[in-house]
Symmetry: C2
Subunit: 249 residues, 2 copies
């Protein structure tokens, strides 16, 4: 699970996916101080209503953002993969409006919030990369809203599986779009706004149609193009190209 590389290198690579950084800025990110910790599944890194104090970077493993209704049902509003920073959504807010929990066991590097903010201030390229990342996460929220609000269960599930394939692939964590899906069907249900029973049936449908192959929690796609079609998946919303900052003359 652990790497012997610098833990923050993953963050750099993650940021550089959309906003390449000059050598100096890259090194400045790597020079941030951090504490590395291994967290067990379902450990909270942020709790709703708390003031965010640290900025956590996911080094290995998976995490999710979650909100609860008054009567206790849960909606998972985001999935985070290695390299993602978990607190950017709260970097400019005083109070957390949702919870972040580990999905699997994983390593998290805690960076002092102030240090990161200072870095963003003093190094425009880093600041820009962070803003791009925040904006892309917001874009994913919008697509999920479309997914949950307007796609039937089969397309909805297929869309999520496609998104994970592309995001993991972009980080070099998928092989030929196949990957290990680290979620129970109950967690999938809470992500998709469905029940676990229905997720199970929908998974079986996709499987029966030859759209996915499951081995334990391993998912692969025998016919990616058809899968993309079923999931109505267009990756534009992931903004997976360099997002160049506007140049001031």
């Amino acid at each position: 699970m652990s790497t012997n590389r610098h833990p923050l290198e993953l963050l750099v690579r993650n940021l550089e996916l959309r906003a390449p950084l000059p050598e100096e800025d890259r090194n400045a990110v790597l020079a941030l101080s951090y504490t590395l910790r291994t967290l067990e599944p379902s450990t909270y890194t942020i709790r709703e209503a708390d003031p965010p104090k640290l900025c956590a970077v996911l080094v290995s493993g998976f995490a999710y953002r979650q909100k609860l209704t008054g009567d206790g049902s849960r909606q998972i509003v985001a999935l985070q993969i290695p390299g993602d920073a978990l607190d950017l959504q709260h970097l400019f807010l005083n109070t957390a409006d949702h919870n972040v929990q580990m999905l699997t066991r994983g390593e998290v590097a805690f960076v002092p919030r102030e240090e990161l903010q200072e870095l963003a201030r003093s190094r425009p390229a880093v600041g820009h990369a962070i803003l791009v990342k925040i904006s892309v996460e917001a874009s994913i929220f919008r697509e999920w809203l479309l997914n949950v609000g307007r796609r039937e269960s089969r397309a909805r599930l297929a869309h999520l599986l496609c998104e994970l394939a592309i995001r993991l692939d972009a980080e070099g964590l998928a092989e030929d779009y196949g990957y290990e899906l680290p979620m129970t069907q109950e967690q999938l249900a809470d992500t998709l706004g469905l029940t676990p029973v229905h997720v199970n049936r929908t998974l079986k449908t996709l499987e029966a149609e030859g759209l996915i192959i499951r081995n334990k929690r391993n998912i692969s796609f025998p016919d990616w193009e058809r899968m993309r079609g079923v999931g109505d998946f267009n990756q534009r919303y992931l903004h997976l190209e360099p997002q160049t900052p506007e140049q001031t003359i």
Copy 2:
């Protein structure tokens, strides 16, 4: 419909709701150049896949953000009210990932994107205010995801009506939480992930329960506390308090 005040004053007030600005910064915002135009309902101000060139500020009227599935169903992913800037979500992205359209007729001030970005760069307080606004919008996306994914139609509709009441009230556009709802039931349906028929029935239910009073498109709440309860509404996610920037020592 039009005001004789400076159109950008609304933007300033909107930003200052969460991030008070020093006099100088306030004036700098007001000094931005702009073109004021009146737009008819359903006019696009941003189109998916286009590069955002201008930054539009809603001066009067309402607008919405929208995405479509491949088979043409629509999900409204955000509602914008007077004072809102319509392009902050794309300020750091090269390509629009959703559409923005006018909901009602209204006035829009178009500000050159570069000028706004330069202002954000040169005036940290303005930059901070913009980042807070972007972050709050993302928070609203998350709450909507919870709303659409995990609340039944009655609570879901009630929640949206509560949110609009609070947001409009914060801008001084509601009276005792009552307001004119400028949406057709079809638009409400596309916002909530429901069908127009079901929205109609759900509205009637709320009305029959004495939770709302409707006069044409005017909505008021005879018993706000009960309504809040039914909508499972907690306004924390709107972050309606000053979001103070982290201080560097």
